[in-house]
């Protein structure tokens, strides 16, 4: 592995109880960071070094709760260096059948959650004159996806958020980027009927699904000084599914 050393840095990962978030959490811990995991309920993994790990139960779509979480992080660890807005849900449905709840839930968690945590974290990072904000978008935010007008809109919105925030925060040495995964094997995609999973794999040029580790690798790269001149950018990790 390319060695990434994040010793002394403090990270927050939302949606860290499972899937991509859980692997990002593990990799950040391995790289030496202290990590605060946010989710609706705790994940199954345990045995993390309690000096460098904290779980806070919170709903990312709650703006005020996000501010409180960041305050708790600052109280416990004294700083905040890396924020990974990963929490996401999908409520697939064709547009003409989509309920207002399907729409609102996805927008509030996937886009609202990213905004809430970017906003809360950026205040702390501004004081430090350093920080990294990373959002998990999706190739479906770069292209449209059948059955995902809500998800595509939210994930595209995340990209707009990243670019505008990058422009605002660059002068404080805060970098803001996104990773756009393609088809990754997680609990979210496990629920898909096999026919659709196979179709997704067929779309890739590498003819395989991605793993959460592939996304975590890109996140670690963006969280480290290896990417110190990259901001406002979206890195696709999709096996060539959307070229």
């Amino acid at each position: 592995m390319i060695q990434v050393d994040l010793t002394g840095q403090v990270a927050v990962v939302t949606g860290a109880a499972q899937g991509i978030g859980e692997v990002i959490l593990s990799r950040l811990l391995e790289a030496g960071a202290s990590v605060v995991a946010i989710d609706l309920k705790a994940g199954d993994k345990c045995g993390f070094d309690q000096n460098r790990y904290l779980f806070i139960q919170s709903d990312v779509s709650d703006f005020d709760a996000a501010k409180e979480v960041v305050n708790r992080v600052l109280e416990r660890f004294g700083r905040l260096d890396i924020l990974v807005a990963n929490a996401g849900i999908n409520r697939d449905q064709v547009l003409w059948k989509m309920t207002k709840e399907n729409w609102a839930d996805v927008i509030n968690v996937d886009l609202g959650g990213a905004f809430n945590y970017f906003a809360a974290a950026s205040s702390a990072m501004k004081q430090q004159n350093s920080g990294k904000l990373i959002a998990i978008s999706s190739i479906n935010g770069l292209r449209g996806k059948f059955g995902q007008t809500n998800y595509s809109a939210a994930k595209a919105g995340v990209i707009g958020l990243v670019k505008a925030a990058a422009k605002e925060l660059g002068k404080y040495s805060i970098r803001v980027n996104a990773v756009a995964p393609g088809f990754i094997l997680t609990e979210m995609t496990d629920k898909m009927p096999e026919k659709y999973r196979n179709m997704a794999i067929e779309e890739t040029v590498l003819k395989k699904a991605g793993k959460p580790e592939d996304i975590a690798n890109a996140v670690l790269f963006l969280a480290s000084d290896l990417s110190s001149h990259i901001t406002g950018e979206v890195i696709k990790v999709d096996g060539g599914q959307y070229i």
Binding site: M1, I2, K163, A166, K167, L169, G170, K171, S173, R175, G182, T204, V205, L206, K207, G210, K211, D214, N217, A218, L220, F221, L226, S227, S228, H229, I230, T231, G232, E233, I235, K236, V237, D238, G239, G240, I243
Partner: protein, 247 residues
């Protein structure tokens, strides 16, 4: 070390981004072929330096703008070196000037050196990668290839061409476990941007959200990431590294 036993070919490796990339690959125990056109002395220095540090570098003099001799030189190189695992198509020139006063020679020279040569080099290196079913290729585009820049129509065309080439090739060779990506640097401190006045450089830095020009080492880090197994699920992508200038 993970990269042990791997060989990389970096074009334009005696200066700027190419030099920093070659240096970083060598530090990671990758054998590096230093591609260069003119300066024997600079190439020899890099090879000597590598050897003194227990690393392996070989110099390969190939003039990428010489369409007549390039295929012969490449064939000789591949015959000598064997398989190449990593290719960084970095060599490039920029002869700025408004289109109205650009000679067709200049236009053709820019497109040949920056785009056609990258494709020719890739063609020769690809055979070995396909046989081995392993390879990772990084092509050097530019933010100018995506956004344009007054005074750089030929350069922009060549760099935009690199993006199209990258995407098409990624689709062609994915089934052979070969990944192809591009890097689009913004303003990086090299001889190419060295021609700008201090005043102009400061003006540019002020337009960049991160308030500084990039360093060749920044681009080298991204190149290494894209070549490495950490990027095993990344292909057909172009990543901008510009301090946010494009925003």
């Amino acid at each position: 070390m993970r990269f042990l036993g791997k060989t990389a070919f970096v074009t334009g490796a005696t200066r700027g981004i190419g030099k920093a990339t070659a240096k970083l690959l060598l530090q990671n125990d990758i054998k590096v072929i230093i591609g260069y056109a003119h300066s024997d002395k600079l190439a020899e220095e890099i090879v000597k330096n590598a050897s003194e540090n227990g690393k392996q570098a070989t110099a390969a003099k190939i003039d990428l703008s010489d369409t007549a001799s390039i295929e012969k030189s490449l064939k000789e190189l591949i015959d000598k070196v064997g398989t190449i695992d990593y290719l960084v198509n970095n060599a490039g020139i920029a002869e700025d000037g408004l289109l109205l006063v650009s000679s067709s020679d200049k236009i053709i020279r820019t497109i040949n050196t920056n785009l056609v040569a990258s494709m020719t080099v890739t063609k020769f290196v690809l055979k070995g990668m396909i046989k081995k079913r392993f390879g990772s290729i990084v092509n050097m585009s530019s933010i100018v290839g995506e956004d344009g820049n007054a005074g750089q129509t030929a350069y922009a065309a060549s760099k935009a061409g690199i993006i199209g080439f990258t995407k098409a090739l990624a689709k062609e060779v994915a089934s052979r476990n070969i990944r192809v990506n591009a890097i689009a640097p913004g303003f990086i401190q090299t001889d190419m941007t060295g021609v700008l006045s201090e005043n102009d450089k400061n003006k540019i830095a002020n337009r960049i959200p991160l308030n500084r020009l990039g360093k060749p080492e920044d681009v080298a880090n991204l190149a290494l990431f894209l070549l490495s197994e950490e990027a095993n699920y990344i292909t057909g992508d172009t990543i901008r590294i510009d301090g946010g200038l494009h925003l």
